[in-house]
């Protein structure tokens, strides 16, 4: 490669933009952590201090006293479990059907499944509310868990089906010839082989369930005991007649962010792999 001055300038500019961009991308996070460690009077200090003095670690304890964080966490985990189990078990079960079994109308049905991915959720929101109301499911966990457990998430079915199709046929053919049922193949061969894809579905499901806001708001919003972290955070901020406890609000936000970051730290490639699988055509 010829080392012309223009080449060097391009490289320097690239690094500069990337570094500046990275810092900018992280400022909101850093700022929220910084704010979460301030005392209430430090909030209005101008110019804003990055490192609070003194560092109010007790904010993280105070949050637990003001808000039933553990309860919200438990509620959120109920939903997360439904999403993850539904994705890893049910969606892979359904995906196997689309990928490795033959039946009349299979491909048409799959096209229908794909088309549901594009359709706005809101058109179902209100009728579903009415249906759940008739069933007595409003203000219970049922509306936000049952559909997921039945494999409603077409996106995960799509991802897993693409993966299953790519699995080598020799193994499954050998098992078929040995008389293994489809169920056995799914359970004992395909699933163990699909750990990366299942991990991707699991992290996506976790992320989606952790952040789910509209559905819990509409179907469970009337019951404060069932609030998820997302709903709880919103409720805390929207609570009327209280002094803006921004520092505690930031602490709670940070606590809501950390689990996702941890999962990302350990399973980065599953996120990246999944994002690229879903975004690249074909």
């Amino acid at each position: 490669m010829s080392k012309t001055p223009a080449f060097h300038l391009g490289q320097i500019l690239t690094y500069f933009i990337l570094i500046a961009g990275s810092i900018t991308a992280l400022i909101p996070l850093g700022w929220s952590i910084s704010t979460s460690l301030k005392t209430i009077d430090q909030l209005a200090v101008w110019p804003p201090q990055w490192i609070p003095n003194p560092v109010a670690w007790n904010n993280y304890i105070d949050v637990f006293q003001q808000i039933p964080v553990l309860q919200y966490f438990g509620n959120t985990m109920v939903i997360v479990t439904a999403w993850v189990v539904g994705g890893v078990v049910t969606c892979s079960f359904v995906a196997y059907g689309f990928a490795r079994t033959q039946f009349k109308g299979r491909d048409t049905l799959f096209l229908i499944l794909l088309s549901t991915l594009m359709m706005p959720y809101v058109v179902r929101l209100i009728p579903l509310f009415m249906i759940y109301k008739e069933l007595g499911w409003i203000n219970t966990f049922l509306p936000v868990t049952v559909p997921q457990l039945l494999g409603r998430n077409a996106f995960y079915i799509f991802l897993l089906r693409q993966f299953f199709i790519g699995l080598p046929h020799e193994l499954t053919d050998a098992a078929r010839i040995d008389g293994c049922s489809h169920f056995g193949i799914w359970w004992r061969i395909v699933l163990p082989l699909s750990k990366p894809a299942l991990a991707t579905v699991a992290v996506f499901a976790f992320q989606a369930a952790w952040d789910d806001f509209l559905a819990p708001l509409v179907y469970m919003g009337g019951n404060p005991d069932l609030r998820t972290l997302a709903l709880g955070l919103f409720a805390f901020r929207a609570a009327p007649g209280q002094v803006a406890m921004t520092h505690l609000l930031m602490a709670m936000s940070v606590m809501m962010i950390i689990p996702i970051l941890l999962i990302f730290a350990f399973g980065q490639r599953y996120f990246i792999q999944g994002v690229t699988m879903s975004g690249l055509k074909g």
């Binding site: 690239t14 991308a25 039946f103 706005p120």
Partner: protein, 319 residues
């Protein structure tokens, strides 16, 4: 060397790699008769979920849009009255459509362009590609609710970090979330924070382009800009196109940020379409009317997807 074919009448099991437990149930599964129908069993959970939680509700939405259902009390069949009201008397309908279009027109191209440019930058032979990719992707991971709460504070007029940086540049504090002119730009700026996800997708696509193409072009005397225009961009159009559509469709449904940060205000400047639907349904309890609103969105997305699919052949390069 071929494996022995099982006795088709009895589904003879020969042991082997992974034999299922020998019960009457599973021998039904292995019979050749069952082969035709076993697929239905596998997809059954999704089919049930689809019928109960997607098809029927969607059809019901169409039906209820023709009524004045309001949760309590009698409901009547009122034909297209909801739709007429929507287009003639509901000022908020026009407002919400305008706000949503504003958001889509600015947020989506900005997001796609910046994500693509970032991916291009990152794809140049820079060291620490994984590090930078992580840095940019992290914000996209943050739960939108937590992000919204954090950005409320960032946008705070008096103590927010954004106005602080602006003040360093000599710019007066902007009333981000409390002025009608700046509320939508604020939300658009916030949406740019999550371009990392798009960047990752484009980066993967860029890395799929064979080096040989670039080398051949360089041999032919093409400079970097020409290589960009004649190789990179045409080969990336399917991916860009696909993500553009997804971006548009999801932007039309922007809800969390507006609901949490501004509640549709100030003065309805951030009343997006979905927020309008939500308020009609769950604040005013006008379920029939809200259903009509959601049907309009549904049809719009449907038509948009169809149109875009038809015209895509014109400007997407399918090598």
């Amino acid at each position: 060397m071929s494996a022995p074919v099982p006795d088709q009448r009895t589904g003879n099991r020969l042991g082997g790699v992974a034999s299922a437990p020998r019960t009457a149930f599973s021998s039904w599964f292995t019979g050749m008769q069952a082969e035709k129908y076993i697929g239905y069993v596998f997809v059954a959970p999704w089919v049930i979920a689809f019928l109960c939680f997607e098809l029927i509700p969607t059809a019901a939405a169409f039906f209820f849009s023709l009524t004045d259902w309001s949760v309590v009390g009698q409901w009547n069949f009122i034909g297209f009255a909801n739709y007429i009201e929507m287009f003639t008397r509901d000022r908020l309908f026009a407002r919400s459509v305008g706000n949503t279009l504003y958001y889509v027109v600015f947020a989506v191209p900005l997001n796609v362009t910046m994500a693509f440019l970032l991916a291009l930058l990152l794809n140049a032979k820079v060291r620490g590609q994984t590090f930078f990719r992580t840095m940019f992707y992290l914000p996209a991971l943050i739960p939108s609710v937590a992000g919204a709460i954090v950005w409320i504070w960032i946008f705070d007029t008096n103590n927010g970090i954004l106005n602080f940086f602006l003040s360093q540049l000599g710019i007066e504090p902007i009333r981000w979330l409390s002025s009608p002119q700046w509320s939508k730009p604020a939300l658009i700026i916030m949406s740019l924070w999550s371009i990392g996800a798009g960047m990752v997708i484009y980066l993967a696509g860029l890395q799929n382009i064979s080096e040989e193409l670039y080398e051949a072009a360089e041999v032919d005397g093409a400079n970097p800009l020409q290589r960009l225009i004649h190789i990179t961009i045409p080969l990336m159009t399917p991916t860009i196109f696909f993500n553009l559509i997804l971006g548009i469709i999801s932007s039309f449904q922007v809800f969390n940020s507006a609901f949490i940060m501004t509640g549709g205000g100030p003065v309805n400047s951030t009343l997006f379409y979905m927020l309008h639907i939500y308020e009609q349904a769950f604040t005013h309890w006008k379920m029939g009317y809200a259903s009509a609103l959601s049907v309009v969105l549904f049809l719009f997305v449907l038509v948009l997807t169809l149109i875009v699919n038809r015209t895509s052949k014109r400007w997407v390069f399918y090598g």
